[in-house]
Every structure is written in structure tokens, then in C-alpha cells.
């Protein structure tokens, strides 16, 4: 909101420099964002909060300044001498919809001479960024910026039968507004009409058909009141943001309707040489009595910690326009105040307290730390969540945050987390007003966002990407047909890793940059379970829609599926144009965080050395490591303390349907040092069993 320094000083006598005005207004709640010098004037850009539409005017801001300066507000003098005739003889006004238009006042100014505005008026409007049109239009604009109440001037000769009818638009009605645009109206919009046609969209903009022109002789000044919501909706629907609509949609003083007409006709008589009618037509069927609010003096200190004496709080309220009820004397601890008609934001005692506090000054409020009455606590799983993040950082994964939206065209690309239904689209949450195409769903999986992130990086030439994200995913709950039933929000953990193919024979500095594979990402997951000390995840091969067959697994925790891991499917990789191997995983984080902790119990250290034997076994590819390990453990073989995985080899020298597994066997006696021969005997027994049961060939 642009406010002119010189204009302000017409209403408040002040010697304060513009920079001081800036500081003082800011500290009472009218933040001045900038000050610009224009000629001999300064223009403030004032940020007016939505509860203070009364300050969308020079008088409104001047009133605050007058309270700050403890001086009087001087309202413009209205000269009513040049009045003749009677408007009520000439025009009639009918309001058909009092909800949308609670008041309509009108007055006629006769025999004006439409022409350019005087220099001072042009300059004043220009200082606040307003273009001069003609003297009549400029006066309406000037008065609006002065008082804050929009008014409109019609060419009376264009109002058929001099009859004003305030009604809802008809569904097939359209008019051309002053900006030359054809506006299609509907039943929700209010028009000002004559007996034939609409001549304005009420409170938003006038129509060309009744515009002031050089031929205009008699002017009908409209000063009406419109319902805020209606103006706001109409302006929004038409995409027509006018200065009038801006003010009406925030609220204008209902009691200023006639005063502002007086101010306008006075200026029109003076500048455009007209004569005004003696009376105004004023249709105002339901005048509201002013609101009344009580103030207990002690509440000021209780709420703000400011000690304010009664004379000072009374002065502030009076100067702001509040009137004490006659029956509440100043020495009483409770006073009732009538709220001024331009203040729509004052309903309760606290509102009065704020008025007093902001004019005493927030800077005078002490600073104090409240006494401790509570115990601080993180969210239940914050410790685990931090450990998981740290563990993933350690595995080389950086944290991503994606927007929580996804693209409905990705609906069927992914298998969702276990437990989330996957039949049809009805389970997805759809936004009715997405910000852009491709953001029309609340994401049911973190994977689409992570894939987009990888694509972004590849586009920027970054080909080594490891990301994880922790965030919520959304699906409708079982009773999704019920209105207002909150959807399921699950905390999910997603991982993605990709790296270029490694050319044979190439090496790199840090030495850990081999071909990325399934086990790299699996290792990152295993580390999580270890970091928060829960049962290790188990992995079983499975077919997953978004993963490549033969390189995909379901992840289980304590026997329960919690997600999947694997290499991105050919289809999705092609769709995203990924040429390098990409591995993705998504796990239900809530289940991980809620899993029970494995108790840590100290195990006595082995007192005698062990004997180690490695064995490489050529076995069928169908046989899984876990099968072999489980089998060995069930043997209860002599002295066998531990069997562990060393490595796997597949490739030249090994048939396609085979792979070579290398295992390490550790033999130990609890009460003496084991002899090599004893270990060898035990080992060869196990080897025989493996040969018999799996057809394993020792290499």
C-alpha cells in the first residue's frame, strides 16, 4: 500500500522525518517495506495486515500516526455550500439482495465539466502510482486513497430511467468492463443495473456503457457496501483485481458511505465546476449497532507484562476511535468500549489489549524465560531415526527431500509397500488443485521422487549418485469412501544408487569404485539394522513390478515383509533413460523403528585358538547361500564354531548353471588347543555331507 508523506501531513501535523515515520509506523504494526523519494514527497510502501483494511488509506494511516504523536487527526473540510436540487427526486435505488449489498448510497452532481485534472491532483495520484484519467474519475480514485472507501461515478444520462437496481447477475449476462474486457457473469455475482442492463459489477469494476466521458453532464456518485466474501469470489472468478475489489474484499467502513460522497461532490464542484444535490439517496435497511468490548485493566499486564496506567490506555483507545460507554466510569476496573465502525478486527478483550500494547510499544515488554514446568522429549523414535540417517551417511548415501507429490502417470509403475492395497486408482490421494501437471497425487511411494532426483543429477552430468529419503507416503484408508476420513500416512525409507559401468582395467584413486551391484545397497540396509540393534533383515528372491527379475528381493524383518530391494526394471530404466545400473529399495520405516531391540549380552571370549579352513564349493546356481549355511549349522559338526561367507565366483571356468562359493570354517575346542588333524577330520566330514546333499564339488 503506497502512502504519501505529504498527503499524510494534511491530516496529522508532524515534523517527523520520513525515516522516523517509517520506524514508528513499523513498530505499531504498519511495517514500512521501503521509502521512495518522489519530487518533494516521500512515498512509503506500507504492509497492511489483513485485519486492518482501515489502513488501506491515508486517513487510516494518519490516525495511527496521530496516536503515536499524541496529536489530533484533522479530517478534510467539506464545503457543502453549492448544493441545489434533490437527488431523491431524480434517481431511485432498489437493493434486491441485501446480503450481498447491505447499503447503497448515491448522490448526483450536476453540470460538471469533464476534463483533465489539475496538476496537483495528477501529481498526487502519480506519487502513489495512479494514472490520471479525467477529473471525475481521478476524484473518485483520490477519495478512495484518502478515505479507503471505494466509490464509483456513473454518467447519469446512461442510467436508463435513472433507476439503480442492485441484483445478482443473470446466468447468461455479460458486460464490458472499463478495462475493455467482455466479462461473462453468473448468479453468484452482484451487478449494479438500471432498468435495462447491468452498468457495473458491484464493488469490482464499472462498465463501459455508463462510463464518464467528455460529454458527461451529470454524475451519479455511488458509495455502497458489498459483502466481502462475494467480492473476493467474484474478483477471483473473473481474474479481475481492482483497487475497489481489493478494499471491498477486506472490508470497508459501513458508516463512511455518506461522508465520502460529500467529500467527492465537494471536490467535483470545486474542480469540475458542478453543483451537487442537496440530499443523498441512502438505502441501508439493516444498520448494525457498534460492537461493545469490555476491558479489565489488570488484563493488560497479565497478558503483555506491560504496566500501563488507566489514563494512558484510555487515551490510546479514544484516539483510535473507541468510545467508552457512558455508564462505565474511568475509575472502575472494568470499562466497556464501543468499537469504531472501521474496525472489524476487535471482538474480545485481548484485541483491546493488543491495541494498547502496540501503542505503548512491544519494545517496552520485558524478556523473561518461563519457569520450567515440563520435561523435554524427542519424538519416540528420533534416536533411531538419527542413527539410521547416520548409518546411511556412512554407507555413502546423502539425504534427499522430494516434494510429497507424484504423477498419476506413475500410478502403476511400482509395487507399493506391503500392506498398502494396490487395486486400482481409488486408493491414491488425488489433489483437485495441483500446482502443476505431474504433481496431482500425494505420493504413494518415495521411489518416483528418487528416480526424478537421479534423472536431475544425470542431466547435470553427475553419474555417481546415492540418495536416501525419509518421508511420508499416502494411500486412502480402508473406509476411503467416508468423507473426511484421514488417509494412511506411513513413514517410508527409500534408497537409490547408481554409478556408471566400469570399463575393464580402469582403476580410480580411492579404490572402492567397482561396479555397483545389488550387494552394495543390501549392505547399506544391513548396516541400518545393526545401527539400531534390531534383528537382521532377511532377503528372499521375489518378483517385484518395478525391479529386474533375478535381481530383486523382498526384505523381511522378523519374518514380516517390510519392503523390497533390487535393480530397476528394464521398463522403468528405459522410460527414465537410465543407461547405467540403478538399484532401489523402499522399506516401511515405521515397522523398522518399532521393531524390538536385541538385548546385548556379553559373550565370554574364546580361550583357545581356532583352526581355520576355507573351502570353495562348485554348486548349482539354484542353491542359495542361505540353504548351504542353514544345512551346515544343522549338522552340529564336531568343533565347528563358525561358518562364514568369503566370496562367490561366477564366470570363466565355471559353467553357466553353476557358481563357486567360498566359505570359511572355524573349528575350536572350548577346553584345549585343537590339533590340526582333529580339525581336518571334522572338516572333511562336513565336505562329504555337502557333496552328498548339494552335489557340491570341492575346487
Amino acid at each position: 500500500m503506497k502512502i504519501s508523506y505529504n498527503w499524510l501531513r494534511e491530516f496529522v501535523a508532524t515534523g517527523l522525518a520520513p525515516s522516523e515515520v517509517t520506524a514508528r509506523l513499523t513498530m505499531v504494526g504498519l511495517a514500512v517495506d521501503s521509502v521512495e523519494q518522489i519530487g518533494d514527497d516521500y512515498v512509503f510502501d506500507v504492509e497492511v495486515a489483513s485485519n486492518r483494511p482501515d489502513c488501506l488509506s491515508h486517513i487510516g494511516v494518519a490516525r495511527e500516526l496521530a496516536v503515536i504523536l499524541r496529536t489530533n487527526l484533522q479530517l478534510p473540510f467539506v464545503n457543502k455550500s453549492r448544493v441545489v436540487g434533490s437527488s431523491s427526486d431524480l434517481i431511485s435505488v432498489r437493493i434486491d439482495d441485501v446480503d450481498l449489498c447491505p447499503r447503497y448510497s448515491a448522490r448526483v452532481v450536476r453540470n460538471v465539466k469533464v476534463g483533465p485534472s489539475p496538476d496537483w491532483l495528477v501529481a498526487r495520484l502519480a506519487s502513489i502510482g495512479q494514472r490520471s484519467i479525467n477529473n471525475i474519475a481521478d476524484i473518485t480514485n483520490y477519495v478512495m486513497h484518502e478515505v479507503g472507501k471505494p466509490i464509483h461515478a456513473f454518467d447519469l444520462s446512461q442510467i436508463t430511467d435513472a433507476q439503480i437496481i442492485v441484483r445478482r447477475a443473470r446466468s447468461d449476462e455479460s458486460i464490458i468492463t472499463l478495462d475493455g474486457v467482455v466479462r461473462r457473469l453468473d448468479r453468484e455475482m452482484l451487478v449494479i443495473a438500471d432498468s435495462m442492463r447491468a452498468v457495473a459489477i458491484g464493488g469490482v469494476m464499472g462498465a463501459e456503457n455508463s462510463e464518464i466521458s467528455v460529454d458527461t453532464k451529470d454524475v451519479l456518485i455511488e458509495s455502497a457496501l458489498f459483502q466481502t466474501e462475494s467480492i473476493w469470489r467474484t474478483a477471483g472468478r473473473l481474474g479481475l483485481q481492482s483497487e475497489a475489489a481489493y478494499r471491498f474484499s477486506r472490508g470497508v467502513d459501513p458508516e463512511v458511505c455518506l461522508a465520502v460522497i460529500d467529500r467527492a461532490f465537494d471536490l467535483m464542484c470545486e474542480i469540475a465546476g458542478g453543483t451537487a444535490d442537496n440530499d443523498a439517496v441512502d438505502v441501508y435497511p439493516n444498520r448494525k449497532s457498534p460492537a461493545q468490548v469490555s476491558l479489565r485493566q489488570e488484563r493488560i499486564e497479565q497478558i503483555t507484562a506491560l504496566r500501563v496506567d488507566e489514563a494512558e490506555s484510555e487515551r490510546i483507545l479514544l484516539d483510535l476511535g473507541f468510545l467508552p460507554r457512558e455508564n462505565s466510569a474511568i475509575n472502575q476496573r472494568v470499562r466497556d468500549y464501543l468499537v469504531p465502525s472501521w474496525r472489524f478486527d476487535v471482538h474480545r478483550e485481548e484485541d483491546l489489549v493488543e491495541e494498547i500494547a502496540r501503542h505503548v510499544g512491544y519494545e517496552k515488554i520485558a524478556t523473561h524465560l518461563p519457569a520450567s514446568t515440563t520435561i523435554g522429549a524427542y519424538q519416540k523414535h528420533e534416536g533411531r531415526r538419527r542413527a539410521i540417517r547416520q548409518s546411511l551417511n556412512g554407507a555413502g548415501f546423502s539425504e534427499a527431500i522430494n516434494l510429497s507429490f507424484s504423477d498419476s502417470s506413475h500410478d502403476n509403475l511400482f509395487d507399493l509397500l506391503p500392506g498398502l492395497k494396490t487395486e486400482g486408482q481409488h486408493q491414491f490421494l488425488t489433489l483437485v488443485n495441483p500446482i502443476a501437471e505431474g504433481f496431482d497425487r500425494m505420493r504413494p511411494t518415495l521411489l518416483s521422487g528418487l528416480l526424478n532426483a537421479v534423472r536431475t543429477n544425470l542431466n547435470h552430468g553427475i553419474r555417481d549418485v546415492r540418495l536416501f529419503e525419509i518421508g511420508r507416503i499416502f494411500v486412502k484408508d480402508q473406509g476411503e469412501l467416508q468423507e473426511s476420513k484421514l488417509p494412511q500416512e506411513r513413514e517410508s525409507l527409500g534408497l537409490i544408487a547408481t554409478r556408471p559401468h566400469v570399463k575393464a582395467g580402469s582403476t580410480s584413486g580411492s579404490g572402492d569404485k567397482g561396479e555397483l551391484n545389488f550387494y552394495d545397497v543390501k549392505g547399506a540396509l544391513e548396516a541400518i539394522a545393526e545401527a539400531i540393534n534390531i534383528a537382521p533383515f532377511e532377503f528372499t528372491p521375489a518378483t517385484v513390478r518395478h525391479l529386474r527379475s533375478g535381481q530383486s528381493a523382498i526384505v523381511l524383518l522378523e519374518g514380516r515383509p517390510i519392503g523390497s530391494l533390487g535393480r530397476l526394471s528394464h521398463e522403468i530404466a528405459d522410460a527414465f533413460r537410465f543407461k547405467q545400473p540403478t538399484f532401489i529399495a523402499e522399506l516401511d520405516l515405521s515397522l523398522i523403528e518399532e521393531a524390538s531391540q536385541t538385548p546385548v549380552r556379553y559373550q565370554p571370549l574364546a580361550r583357545f585358538p581356532s583352526v581355520l579352513r576355507d573351502a570353495s564349493l562348485l554348486i548349482d546356481r539354484q542353491i542359495k547361500l542361505s540353504d548351504v549355511m542353514a544345512f551346515v549349522r544343522t549338522l552340529n559338526a564336531d568343533y565347528l564354531a563358525e561358518v562364514s561367507f568369503v566370496g562367490v565366483y561366477e564366470g570363466s571356468g565355471v559353467a553357466d548353471d553353476k557358481r563357486s562359493l567360498t566359505l570359511k570354517f572355524e573349528y575350536r575346542s572350548p577346553d584345549r588347543t585343537l590339533h590340526d588333524e582333529e580339525a581336518d577330520e571334522a572338516h572333511s566330514k562336513i565336505m562329504n555331507m555337502l557333496q552328498n546333499s548339494f552335489g557340491a564339488i570341492l575346487r
Binding site: R358, T373, I401, S484, L486
Partner: protein, 368 residues
Amino acid sequence: MSSGPEALPHHQQAQETLEVFRREFERFERFNDDSMIERLALSDAREVVRDLEAVKIKYTGRKSSLSKLKKMIGDIATEHRRDFNQLLRRIEEEITTSIERIETALTEHVRLRGAQRDALDVTIPGHRLESGRLHPITLLRQRIEDIFVAMGYQIEDGPEVETNFYNFTALNIPESHPARSPLDTFYLDNGLALRPQTSTVQIRTMKRSRPPLRIIAPGRCFRRDTPDATHNPMFFQVEGLLVDRHISMADLKGTLREFVRRLFGAQTVTRFRPSFFPFTEPSAEVDYSCFKCNGKGCSICKGTGWIELGGSGMVHPNVLEAVDIDPEEWRGFAFGLGIDRMCALMYGLNDIRLLYENDMRFLRQFKS
């Protein structure tokens, strides 16, 4: 026999040993001059050290003649033993001193030269696994949580998809308020909406638990802002709420002042100025002195010296009444701070869209 002990054969033998040593050691004498050692190359110096070591063993080792002489002590008449021992000690001392003096200097020289030859380039990077980084929003959020937990607050969260009651009605936002419009708030096809602020959590907490209460609720919020350098349709906010008896705006000022001092440093100054929010009354905008220029005015604070921290105020009595808390008995304050904005200012981001693009070049810049 009147001759002294010097004439005894053992004594003579010992004297001869010394003479032999002296003659042999002559070739090392030049190394008593440090400059001779300085001139030796590393390999030559090592050669000399080995040579010297051999000489040392030859004359003082277990099989040396000196060693043999020591064993002959029993053959010597008692009255001469003391003299003989003294003689042997003198001889041994001369041998070892001669050798060690040069040996020490040579060894020092070898170590020095060796160290020079093997000197590392300590500026070559150390070996380690390249670790990942936390998102800057997480880093800041964790710091904020740590500060408030230390001040007795509980961290809370609630649904991101909410009903109009929690999003607006209970927060004293009137039916006609523009914030409710589909221009500003995301709506779902079933009438629910994405929370435009985490103040929703205030309401859920107050419905669930009775005062005294201290909570903060950090989390994702959504508003229909078209992405540009300072807007995203999703952002992170931290909402704070304290409800207790005898709470005033002084407590609000004290709390937020303490918070910014812990986050940005003890020199940070706060400023409260009147503002408007439907769910607080009185309301205050909180500014803090720019951490970059300390209030002098710079590009970060757009020359004002102040940076907007967020909105705050005393909880509106209508809000307390909506959750059945008696505003005559309890009072509270609330505040809402934008984490994204703080993050942008703290790290000097000029375009906050970067926060959610997940470019590795961006993410890798942040450390706790």
C-alpha cells in the same frame, strides 16, 4: 721381581689390544669431523654404520679379546686385580666412547637423510570411504529440536493431510478467509486438505493433553505457491506452543530470544513488532539482527539489519476455547518459524528451489 703390574703379561696383552683397536679405528677418525658425515650419501653412511658395528662387536663383543681378558681375572694375583680391572675398564671405555661418538652422529645423519628421502606429501588426501551428507533442512531441524528439548519442549507431529477443523476452524480462521481458498490451499478429492502450517499439531496436542504444555512441531507444510526463488509448494515449518498459568508476552520474548541466541550466536538481538495472525492475540512479528552484518545492513537483510524470523503471539482465547481450555485460567504463546527460510539465510541460498531438487553438487555442500 720389582717391576710394576704393567710388566705383567696380562697387562701387556691388554695394552696390545688397545693398540690394535687404535690402529684399526684410524680409518674412522675423520668422521669425528661432522662435516665429513654431512657429506656422506645415505647408502655410504649406512655402509659406515655397518662397518662401525662390526668393529664394535670385534672389540667389545662376546668373542673379543677384551672379553677374553675379563675372564682371566682369576689368573691374576690378588694384589694386582684391582689395577687390572681398572685397566680393562679404561680400555673398554676408550673403545666404546670412540665408536659411539661417531656412531651416534652417523645414526642421526642416516635417520635425517632417510626421513628426507621418505618424506610424505601430507597434502595428499587421506584414505576413507566417501560418506553421504544430511539434507540441510534435517541439519537445521535437528538443531532446532535440540535447542527446544533442552528448554523443556516435547517434539510433536501430526498428519500432513488434515480436516478443515484442524487446518482452519480451530485456529480461528474464518470461513471466508482467503487462506482456505483453493488458490492458497491444496485440497483432495474427498474434501481434506494438506496442512498449510503445522499449527494443526497445536490443536491435536491440546485436545489430547492438558496444560501445562510445551511443544514444538516441525514438519512439512503445503501452500499453493508457484515455485520461484523464494517459494516452493512444500516447505518445512516449526510451530511452537506453550500453555501454562501466568504466561505473558515477556515469556514469549524471552523464549524466542533464547532460541535465536542459541541458533545464531549470543550476539543476536531480537525485535518484536505488532502483526496479525488469526490464532494469536496480541500478535507479533519476530525479527532478529542479521547474523551476517550484525544489524548494520547487507544484502541478506536487504539493508534493514533485520531478518524476519516468523510470526508469534499469545494464543487467541478462541483457540483455547475450541479445545476446551479456559482462557481465564490458562494462557499461552505460539510461534511459527519457516525452516526453509532460515536454512536459505543461514547458508546464503539465493534460490530455495534447490532444496528439493536433490542435486548432489548441492547436497554435498552441507555438514553438521
